[in-house]
């Protein structure tokens, strides 16, 4: 497993199982967990995607600066 993968697993598992706040009102529906989970997962994946996009921009910028004659 690569470092990126391990990081991803940690990022995923921790909030889902520990951090997410719970609202206590009785409403039994198997879809509720999916709904909450998707909100969280989208935030993580969206966040990682944003970081990746910025990182690529920074990398391209650095490459351009240093490759110039």
């Amino acid at each position: 497993m690569t470092i990126a993968k391990t990081l991803y697993v940690l990022l995923m598992a921790l909030p889902v199982l520990v951090i997410l706040p719970e609202n206590a009102s009785a409403y039994l529906d198997p879809g509720t967990g999916s709904y909450i989970f998707q909100v969280l997962l989208a935030a993580i994946i969206g966040g990682l995607f944003a970081i990746k996009t910025y990182w690529l921009k920074i990398r391209d910028f650095i490459n351009r600066v240093f490759k110039k004659p």
Partner: protein
Amino acid sequence: MGTTANRLKGSFRDPSGFVFFQNGTLFRSVSRLYQKDYDHLVQSGLYNKLVEGELLIPHREVHSSEKKDDEYKIIQPEIVPFISYPYEWCFSQLKDAALTILRIQKQALDSDMTLKDASAYNIQYFKGKPILIDTLSFETYKENQPWIAYRQFCQHFLAPLALIARRDARLSQLMRIYIDGIPLDLASRLLPKTSWFNTGLLSHLHLHAKAQKRYESKTPGVKTSKVTKQSLTPLIDHLESAIAGIQWEPAGTEWADYYEGTNYTQNTMNHKKRLVEAYLDECKPETVWDLGANTGLFSRIASSKGIQTIAFDVDPAAVEKNYRQMRENKETTMLPLCLDLTNPSPALGWANEERLSVLNRGPADMAFALALIHHLAISNNLPLSHIADFFSRLCRYLIIEFVEKDDSQVQRLLRTRKDIFNEYTQKDFEVAFQDRFSIIKSEKISDMQRTLYLMKSLDTQ
């Protein structure tokens, strides 16, 4: 125009509209409730884009004076020749269907729409490709709205695909038990522990299942219920790469390498092919069901003539091989499907009316039962009269191969069982089948203990 009387039995869940038959033609009634969404689908150009990309079934709007007040439009979609179900698909058919749904969802998001369901039953094989048949599956995207069909997608596609690839191909049959897809906690328990190290399966299946359990009695708060579009698109992409990453190779099953292990020589094989072709040309059927098609060698004689052909086989590996060949050659008249003839797909769902049995989706103009009868009569102890009766309900014309007891393949079957099959003779076969069919012609296959018959069902004469 559409009334409860002619409404399709499985079409009741969605208030946006329903499907009905009138004078043998299929229509879809679009409710006034769906007016805005329907207009958005058409006016945004999404409908045209999806139809051009062969992702959505084309339809035409019908102008009818019989339209009721609550009906906005009546549309007439193109007809899918044969409705098949996910528990009849092989691995790659299910995977291609999953990727089709995600491709549609991405294009929908580009046009500010979203799929409100992701049911595998909304995908059908049409001209050789998976296509969405439910035109009313789209709704206008609302800012910060999560993908409401996410759970259904995971249950209908991700779970069965992972189970086939990571555990056993036969687990696709769980789709037959769970009509709204395989529960994620069940899939999570059945999958091997190594699947936790796959990021796609970890997130969309295992942790998803855990979250369902943890939050089953909670209501999502306003603060936590937002998914921005910037996050939703990467989520769909992630799901897409999770699906694309699930791989399964068909090998090691009983039938997938069948043609390498038969007792046919090239000469006898050619003779059998010529006979099948001649019988086909004589009857000119529009639809053929090849029962026990293996990888579709004989089915292709029919499908290459433009005949809509279903190649059924019990072995998911054989069906997988057939599907891959069909996909590679871009065949449009062939549909390989998994079917156990000794326990064919039953009628399922609410009131046993949502999903049709195989019999209810027939009869076919013609059926092939090639090198099959000995498996039914000897391996499954089925009396010949029962086989004749069932076949007469499946088809109008029948090409059937009788395999004598002396044949080496029959002898192989008898090696491990007591020969209690005194009534398995060619004469008994003809008597049993003549009760249900008239024999049009028959010919012995050269150098073989086998005879090929062309028969016509007595019910249709």
